[in-house]
């Protein structure tokens, strides 16, 4: 068993094959896309592999500590940030091959023209608990 994070990017990932932005899709294409995503999550819940999935707003700010007794400093948002995460899904699967298989399915979500977006998703393994037997 291993947990993986499937990361979806607004920006920063290599260009998708069907790279037309969502605001230029038809409303039906948007609905079809959302339905695909929901069904994908529901299917993973049924296979016992779903852990969590969330979408993120593109707006955000940088925050840091600014010393004792002072409020945190905020900055941004920076429109030019290279890497902008759009959302994630966490899965719990038997291994890396299955994680890649599922990321491939998620990347096939339909976009403009009802054709798969072929979007690049980032697959990242979680660090695990320490095994008992190591020697």
């Amino acid at each position: 068993m291993a947990k993986y994070l499937l990361l979806k990017h607004y920006r920063g990932a290599p260009a998708a094959v069907n790279d037309i932005p969502m605001d230029r899709w038809t409303p039906e294409e948007i609905s079809a896309h959302i339905r695909y995503m929901n069904e994908f999550a529901a299917r993973l819940e049924e296979t016992g592999e779903f852990v969590d999935g969330q979408a993120l707003a593109p707006e955000g700010a940088w925050v840091r500590y600014d010393g004792e007794g002072r409020p945190p400093v905020t900055d941004g948002p920076f429109a030019e940030t290279k890497d902008l995460i759009a959302g994630w899904m966490v899965i719990d699967v038997d291994g890396y091959d299955r994680a890649v298989e599922l990321a491939g399915e998620l990347s096939a979500a339909p976009g403009a023209g009802g054709r798969p977006i072929h979007e690049w998703l980032e697959v990242r393994p979680f660090l695990t608990a320490h095994p008992t037997v190591t020697e």
């Binding site: 068993m1 947990k3 819940e45 049924e46 296979t47 016992g48 592999e49 779903f50 852990v51 969590d52 719990d92 699967v93 038997d94 393994p125 660090l127 695990t128 608990a129 320490h130 095994p131 008992t132 037997v133 020697e135």
Partner: protein
């Protein structure tokens, strides 16, 4: 309410229902219903024969469900039949459950979940917490697993090796909720060892006991890993060690060596050393040679190279390591350690940092980072 007693009785009750001909998935549901009723009614009205009570109530629940199902489906002959006669009457019912829950048609994670639920008697919520997944996900994983094995006939003994792999996974992997998975794995393996006469079952039980014995010394109060050589051996559980060694010796005397017995033998040699310096490394290397012969596993070869480094010096260990694929997990960590022992501290520090970057678990990464930091902080000449 004695939860431990309830959990100990669960697999036997389930096995009786299955032997009487109940479909596994339906039997499991019925036993869960009976457990819920036991939790409700036992505090006021404790039964004289808890197991008999559970069998009676679970069987009634099963029939109730089956009847309402059949009424719906108009297939009444199913329940009107007498319970089917079981397989060989002498066969241990619970043993068959172990085989079913570790059936090769299940993925490892499904087999683990089903074993903990049906044999271990844990709740779905407890299993979900132990593996850090939502309860709904774990419920689905378990019910799919039940459906997968529902058609399997329990008329032939399964392969003990599949059961051992599942129990080893329970022992070795997983996080922790309110359930101690390692202790649970030991409990289930102990029960299995009582039901089936097989030296590898004993070997796995010994392996678990010997590693579990070191647990109090394995982590510092801040949660960081303490390597074997630096552990406070007075904190090892001598009772568990004595039991593990006795179980292992009895198994080895059968002269049917297997992977788990050989691994347990390595653990026993560590347990036997009053101080790290007195460890019998040459004998440990011999056991690793056996393990290489038994498994051919590259991970075993890696551990062997480290043991060679202790027995014959770090140069010999590095030479053994050089024959292995550098992409192996923990290869860099082993190289860092051997270079440190060899006195090449700058190289060791660099390799520790690299190994930390490649580590697949958090405690290991932090440990390797600390070792790199300690070497980097030494006075420079």
């Amino acid at each position: 309410m004695d939860e431990v007693l309830l959990r100990r009785l669960t697999p036997g009750v389930l096995a009786v229902l299955v032997r009487r001909g109940a479909d596994f998935a339906a039997a499991e549901d019925a036993v869960q219903d009976a457990l819920v009723e036991a939790v409700r009614s036992w505090p006021d009205d404790p039964p004289r024969d808890p197991r008999g009570w559970l069998v009676t109530v679970a069987w009634r629940k099963f029939l109730d469900r089956a009847r309402s199902d059949t009424a719906r489906r108009r297939r009444e002959h199913l329940v009107e039949e007498e319970p089917a006669p079981g397989p060989a009457p002498a066969a241990d019912d619970t043993l068959q459950l172990y085989f079913l829950c570790a059936h090769p048609s299940l993925s490892p994670s499904s087999a683990v979940a089903l074993t903990l639920r049906a044999v271990g008697g844990l709740t779905t919520r407890q299993i979900a917490a132990a593996y850090l997944v939502p309860e709904a996900t774990m419920a689905q994983r378990i019910s799919r697993a039940k459906r997968t094995v529902s058609g399997v006939r329990l008329d032939r003994p399964g392969d003990v090796a599949t059961v051992l792999r599942v129990l080893y996974l329970v022992f070795n992997e997983g996080y922790s909720g309110d359930v101690d998975l390692a202790a649970e794995a030991i409990r289930l393996t102990r029960h299995l060892a009582a039901a089936v006469d097989h030296p590898e079952v004993a070997g796995l039980l010994a392996l678990m006991l010997l590693h579990h014995a070191r647990r109090p010394a394995r982590t510092a109060p801040d949660g960081s890993l303490v390597p074997l050589a630096e552990q406070d051996r007075s904190r090892w559980d001598t009772g568990a060690i004595a039991e593990g060694v006795a179980v292992l010796q009895a198994a080895l005397a059968r002269d049917r060596l297997g992977e788990f017995q050989a691994q347990a033998a390595v653990a026993a040699l560590h347990a036997d050393a009053p101080t790290a310096g007195e460890t019998d490394w040459p004998q440990i290397v011999e056991w690793y040679d056996e393990l290489v012969r038994l498994t051919g596993s590259p991970v075993v070869r890696l551990n062997r190279a480290v043991a060679v480094g202790e027995a014959d010096g770090p140069r010999a260990g590095l030479a053994a390591l050089a024959e292995l694929d550098p992409a192996l997990p923990r290869h860099t960590a082993a190289a860092a350690y051997l270079h440190e022992r060899d006195g090449d501290l700058a190289k060791a520090a660099r390799l520790y940092a690299e190994a930390a970057h490649k580590a697949s678990d958090l405690a290991e990464r932090d440990h390797l980072t600390r070792r790199a930091a300690r070497l980097n902080a030494r006075p420079r000449r």
